[in-house]
């Protein structure tokens, strides 16, 4: 039955991990549908992934230009209607710039791009994208970014913490200086999740440090079937 479920993967000019995200969608059992930045409809998909990369070169700020593309307008509309949306790395930046998630991602504290296998604690296992994990579980997922330091006003941080909206936290070393070791967050409804680490690069042991990332893609499928 899940074979009929479709997950859209958006390609902006400069998206890099779009094929990888599509591969992870396929590995989870859904059908990946590519969406182009200029598309004005979502082709009937059941969920959307905004993948990693450097949309439009990201010279200004990560995601700053991509958020104005026609397809993102549709994603915003759908997300507000409850569609599951996952933003990975650059996709997380787009979600913040588009105000689907609060806060912003700025230059890493070390001022360098960093690529490494990163341990994360799953803090919220009840979102559409994290229900397959157990709360408090440690997973290993690669990070690779130059602008991944999560910042927000003190009020926003307090609100995220109070409402349990921190989805993932860095463990065993914070790679970028993110406030409260925040690696990923969710919106209040739990359908929109953004994170800096790359679950699509952790779907098998041949090409990734673990297969822990696949759970994000299978979680959303289960939630869609249940819905």
């Amino acid at each position: 039955m899940s074979a009929t479920l479709t997950v859209g993967v958006v390609t902006f000019p400069g998206s890099l991990d779009d094929r990888d995200a599509a591969r992870a969608v396929t590995a989870s059992g859904a059908t990946a549908v590519s969406l182009w930045h200029g598309d004005t409809d979502l082709k009937g998909v059941d969920a959307v992934v905004l993948p990693g990369g450097f949309s439009y070169g990201d010279y200004l700020r990560g995601g700053a230009i991509a958020r104005f593309s026609p397809v993102v307008a549709e994603v915003i509309r759908a997300a507000n209607d409850g569609m599951p949306v996952l933003g990975i790395c650059n996709g997380f930046q787009v979600l913040c710039e588009a105000h689907l998630l609060p806060g912003a991602l700025v230059r890493n504290a070390g001022l360098r791009f960093i690529c490494r296998d990163q341990q994360l604690t799953v803090e919220n296992a009840s979102t559409r994208w994290t229900s397959g994990y157990t709360e408090g579980e440690t997973i290993t997922i690669p990070v690779k970014h130059g602008e991944g330091r999560y910042v927000a006003t003190a009020d926003t941080i307090a609100e995220l913490e109070a409402e349990g909206r921190v989805a993932f936290r860095y463990q065993g070393g914070n790679p970028n200086g993110a406030l409260n070791d925040i690696a990923g967050i969710t919106n209040a409804a739990g359908n929109v999740v953004g994170l800096m680490p790359h679950p699509e690069h952790a779907i098998d042991l041949l090409t990734g440090p673990s297969a822990d990332g696949l759970t994000m893609f299978t979680s959303v499928l289960k939630s869609l079937v249940a819905a």
């Binding site: 000019p13 400069g14 450097f54 990201d58 360098r112 791009f113 690529c115 690779k144 041949l206 090409t207």
Partner: protein
């Protein structure tokens, strides 16, 4: 610059005008040859084109006679689809797939502006691979700097590394390996060599030819600006001198985003069969792309130069034709397909402009607002440049003294404590310490096909989602061995890259090389070059791995002192099933560690001599190509049959370094018992050796015996220390601090 344009008509009427050919780097006789070819004096624009195309960098005038051996003596290989002479060689890897790869230098630009120099070096080699019709799938980089704590290195290392990473990361190409070296001979002249590999279905192969009169010449990509004008001749074909800053061309700035969409756009053009020829714009810009495609076609070409989209309207024809602006390609398109090409480019947001057409004449004619500024036979620019048989002379006094000064007299550690202290200093030295400060700045995951990357011996990528087939690559150079003996040193460099590929479980197939040397006008340097190329050609033939292409970088010196001669060698291998790949790190405790190959007392030119004594002299380790081949055969068989679960080659730093690296990767220690002289066993750099781990030692030793590879079990994996029985033990925690702390402490 005269405001009026020097036309062909004008040149005919004013034969006696003085021309600044010497300032442009042309010799008297070269200028005379140009006049002879044209039957008149060249126009200003023609002169500029000849000067860049006949520069050392573009024409290979000093190296051509030596490089010929790579083709003439090449081993016969059924795998070779396109050999030397194209933008990059193409190798068949089965299943209808082919692979193309090449390494190229960007040394001098990286010294001038480390970030942009390195970035545009990556951008340039990626376009070479794209030009063959391939999708680029990975990059590697080989970097060399002066002493790690030299002020120059503080400026260059962070900039170069950020530039390699910045461009490759934004392009979405995994970096799967490379090397970083430090030696005072590179102070003031760092080496920045970048490699790219791509994959293509056989039918998508593209060639850089302009065929078919009436076909349109379309320029794709970035607008043309004043970047790097004269860069090729000025920067890469002359020695740096203090105070030469003013001669430096304006720096090329890379735009990886534009390159990314250019790649996607070109691949769609290829797949749709919309182009009949394609060439990247690199060194010498349009001069090179137009003359090479026309020269390799079947007719001539007419370019309307004023139609080239410009960043600055005030550019002169000379500037437009020699600009080295990045992220541009030149496509040859049938008239009926032009509209489709322009539409596809528009979809990607790539600027595409028809700037001329293929003609049935034999001339490359370039006009500027209707006035003819160039009218030349294209091959005279691209192929028929000067060829020099430069004087070659072994610098006997210097070389004999160097070879006579062996390492035998250096004091060696003898007690367990001394050996331990030596090991700790060596693993913490810039020479041998962890490279993760560098490699953490590179994305190795993107594209989802990376099976092995840093810190493994070789990079290994799967060729697609629907195949188990993969390719392995290693990139190696050792300027000290080559300094001691250019012939044997070059062979050892090749052997090391070959061995690294073999350690991944892949079978070595083909070679690319970047030959970094001093000034070709120095007969001693030319001797090094002649010896190195001879050694390389011989070894390639013996190992059955042809050179498919590469690059020569001369004039790497500061003042009159040349760098250590540094051939950087890339070896490509194939593996049928990437799941059989063999990593370098110990993967489990309780495995037997087997040492393959023979260890001799060979410490001249070693990391030990350098790190502990600052010594370089004597003769490099013996070259054992038969043994290398046997070792590679054994490793491939053992990987295929699942006999080994880790393999690490022994090179710089010897067995000691290999054990430390293999242990630290997954935090699994080892206990070894070394017979004979422990010092030699630990630190000798004899070639043709590797360590492997196995839980089927009997089968492995039997296979090794059958294949004639010396093999001996030296211990077992496990624990949280490295222990050399009867000598010393050191915890992994202590080793890790020493190994990993050095580069962060130096570079932040």
């Amino acid at each position: 610059m005269t405001p009026t344009i020097d036309t062909v008509g004008n040149a005919e009427q004013t034969p006696d005008v003085e021309q600044p050919f010497a300032e442009l780097g042309l010799k008297d006789d070269e200028y005379a040859t140009i006049r002879e070819i044209l039957g008149r004096r060249p126009t200003d624009t023609e002169l500029a084109m000849y000067s860049v195309m006949w520069s050392e960098h573009c024409s290979y005038k000093s190296s051509k006679v030596h490089l010929r051996q790579f083709a003439d003596d090449a081993p016969t290989s059924d795998a070779m689809l396109v050999g030397m002479g194209e933008n990059a060689g193409v190798v068949d890897v089965g299943d209808g797939l082919a692979v193309t790869f090449k390494v190229e230098s960007h040394n001098h630009p990286s010294y001038v502006e480390p970030y942009q120099g390195a970035a545009t070096g990556v951008g340039g080699i990626v376009r070479d691979i794209l030009t063959m019709g391939a999708r680029p799938i990975a990059v590697m980089d080989s970097l060399r700097f002066g002493d790690a704590d030299a002020p120059d290195s503080r400026r260059l290392v962070p900039g170069v590394v950020a530039g390699v990473g910045g461009y490759g990361n934004c392009l979405g190409l995994p970096n799967i390996g490379g090397e970083v070296g430090f030696d005072p001979s590179y102070a003031g002249n760092p080496l920045v060599n970048a490699l790219c590999v791509g994959v293509l279905p056989h039918h998508r192969l593209q060639l850089a030819q302009a065929k078919g009169a009436g076909n349109q010449v379309v320029l794709l990509g970035a607008k043309t600006g004043r970047d790097g004008i004269g860069g090729v001749s000025v920067l890469a074909s002359a020695t740096f001198e203090a105070g030469s800053e003013t001669k430096r061309p304006s720096v090329q700035v890379g735009d990886p985003f534009t390159e990314k969409i250019l790649i996607e756009c070109c691949l769609e053009l290829f797949d749709a069969g919309l182009v009949t020829g394609i060439q990247d714009l690199g060194g010498a810009g349009l001069s090179c792309a137009t003359s090479e495609t026309a020269g390799h076609g079947d007719g001539g070409m007419h370019i309307n130069l004023e139609t080239v989209p410009l960043r600055e309207a005030s550019m002169t024809p000379i500037e437009v034709i020699t600009s080295e602006s990045q992220e541009r390609m030149l496509a040859i398109v049938e008239p009926a397909k032009v509209a489709e090409v322009l539409a596809l480019c528009d979809k990607w947001g790539v600027i595409a402009t028809v700037i001329g057409e293929v003609t049935d004449g034999e001339r490359l004619v370039i006009t500027w607002h209707g006035e003819t500024v160039v009218d030349v036979p294209p091959r005279s620019l691209a192929d028929d440049g000067p060829v020099y048989q430069r004087p070659v002379a072994r610098p006997d006094d210097e070389q004999d003294a160097l070879n006579a000064n062996g390492s035998k007299t250096l004091p060696r550690p003898t007690t367990g404590d001394e050996l331990r202290a030596t090991l700790m200093r060596m693993v913490a030295s810039p020479e041998l310490c962890s490279r993760s400060w560098v490699t953490e700045q590179y994305d190795r995951f993107v594209l989802g096909g990376t099976v092995l990357a840093t810190p493994n011996d070789g990079g290994l990528v799967r060729l697609g989602d629907d195949t188990t087939r993969g390719i392995a690559l290693a990139l190696d150079g050792n300027g000290r061995f080559t300094k001691l003996d250019p012939h044997d040193g070059a062979q050892l460099n090749l052997a090391e890259a070959y061995r690294n590929v073999a350690c991944t479980g892949a079978t070595p197939l083909a070679v690319t090389d970047c030959l970094n040397f001093g000034s070709p006008e120095d007969p001693g340097v030319m001797w090094q070059f002649a010896e190195a190329t001879r050694g390389l050609a011989e070894a390639c033939r013996e190992l059955g791995t042809p050179v498919t292409g590469g690059n020569v970088s001369f004039y790497n010196q500061t003042g009159s002192t040349a760098i250590n001669p540094t051939p950087v060698i890339g070896v490509l291998g194939v593996i049928d099933d990437v799941a059989k790949r063999v990593p370098s790190g110990f993967t489990a405790a309780g495995r037997q560690i087997v040492l393959l190959g023979e260890t001799h007392d060979e410490l001249d030119g070693s990391a030990w001599a350098w790190v502990e004594h600052g010594h370089l002299g004597g003769h490099p380790p013996a070259v054992r190509l038969d043994a290398e081949q046997a070792l590679a055969g054994l490793l491939a068989a053992a990987a295929r049959d699942g006999l080994i679960d880790a393999a690490h080659d022994l090179s710089e730093g010897g067995l000691a370094q290999a054990l430390v690296e293999a242990a630290l990767i997954n935090g699994i220690g080892a206990t070894v018992a070394l017979g004979g002289d422990t010092f030699t066993a630990l630190f000798s750099e004899s070639s043709a050796r590797a360590i492997v781990t196995t839980d089927a030692a009997d089968a492995l030793l039997a296979t090794a015996a059958a294949q004639g590879v010396p093999a001996v079990s030296i211990g077992t994996t496990g624990g949280d220390a490295i222990e050399v029985e009867g000598e010393f033990a050191v915890s992994l925690a202590e080793l890790r601090v020493a190994f990993e702390g050095t580069l962060p402490a130096l570079f932040g």
